[in-house]
């Protein structure tokens, strides 16, 4: 009955939201105020080049002002954040939705007594199996969540 209580989606959202807001607030502050001391020698050091940056990129960075370098770093961060949210959020949500779907289906089938009820139960089971397949093909697995094995019982986790 109880979903994985230790991982609540809004915790992640809150953490990321706070982090992003801080980075953006910081970037805005620095771009307005400019480097406080030492001019161009200080600000770019705060943003090391991302992994895989080749020599040409570094040479180009050397010619940038602190504002441009900060903008580039912020762009990298935003892109990484979007990728991370997509990967973490979507599969996490899909897995939790699947687990909820399984529990609801189990209760639905337990209550089924008439032919109509049993037909609804079968439809719900079909939806669960289809969802399992979709989650499996995109996410691979649901760590700590429902089984994605087609032959696993419904629900696949102890309630």
């Amino acid at each position: 009955m109880t979903p994985a209580r230790g991982h609540r989606r809004w915790w992640t959202v809150a953490g990321l939201g706070i982090g992003i807001a801080l980075v953006q607030g910081c970037a805005a502050q620095q771009s307005v105020a400019g480097p406080a001391k030492g001019g161009a020698t200080e600000a770019p050091q705060a943003a090391p080049p991302p992994a895989g940056t080749d020599r040409t990129d570094r040479e180009e960075n050397d010619g940038e002002g602190p504002k441009a370098a900060l903008g580039r770093a912020k762009g990298d961060f935003d892109r990484a954040e979007r990728e991370l949210l997509t990967a973490a959020g979507d599969c996490g949500t899909a897995c939790r939705a699947l687990a909820s779907m399984e529990r609801a289906t189990a209760h639905l089938c337990q209550l089924a007594s008439s032919d109509e009820d049993r037909s609804r139960c079968d439809e719900a089971k079909t939806k669960v199996l289809s969802a399992r397949e979709r989650v499996r093909s995109t996410c691979g697995e649901c760590p700590g969540g429902p089984s994605l094995d087609r032959n696993a019982p419904i629900p696949s986790q102890r309630q």
Partner: protein
């Protein structure tokens, strides 16, 4: 989503927090100026409080102190909300999630009426077809299932049948909503048509 993903998330959050030392600008001012999502200090404080109270509820639940867990969660839903009167998505999710957990705990204490009330309150914070709404519909279905069993035990057959029919409807809606959520999360389409047409 497992270890590596958790580490990446952790690293990202730690990185962002590290920037706090060099950044004293108020987040609320930045959000308002940009017209972006209002994740300001009030919202952050509320989310932090939410996390602490859910943790407290975890500890109480682990100690089998379900009333204690309910007190902690009740404190959260009755706490002052940031931007009272405006629907901040993060806050709405916290409330929907917390009411669902309270309803589940109340069911475990055999408080069916209280569980129904919490589930209904949670649904008001999750009007759209989201995981939170699906979960609340699932819990609502379980509430009606429990009620149907109690009524049947009391020999009230007609009322038990009505509760059972309601349970089936709610559970069916939960399956439909969560099927939509899975499809949407993975970027695909589903054949679902909403909660029996009641809500999309």
């Amino acid at each position: 989503m497992g270890g590596p993903m958790t580490r990446r998330l952790g690293a990202l959050i730690v990185c962002a927090c590290a920037l706090l030392g060099g950044c004293g600008r108020a987040i609320s001012a930045r959000a308002q100026e940009d017209g972006g999502p209002v994740i300001d200090t009030d919202v952050m404080a509320y989310l932090s409080e939410a996390r602490a109270l859910h943790h407290e509820a975890n500890l109480k639940e682990d100690a089998n102190d379900l009333p204690g867990a309910l007190v902690a969660l009740g404190q959260l839903v009755h706490a002052r909300k940031p931007h009272e009167g405006a629907a901040v998505p993060e806050v709405e999710e916290v409330l929907a999630d917390t009411y669902a957990r309270m309803a589940e705990l109340r069911l475990r204490t055999k408080d069916v009426t209280g569980a129904e009330s919490d589930a209904r309150a949670g649904l008001e914070h999750a009007p759209d077809s989201t995981y939170f709404r699906g979960h609340l519909l699932e819990v609502s279905g379980e509430v009606e299932e429990t009620r149907a069993a109690a009524l049947a035990d009391a020999g009230l057959r007609d009322q038990a049948a009505a509760a059972r029919a309601k349970a089936l409807k709610l559970l069916n809606q939960a399956v439909t909503v969560q099927d939509e959520v899975v499809g949407r999360s993975l970027g695909g389409q589903t054949g679902a048509t909403g909660e029996g047409g009641a809500r999309q």
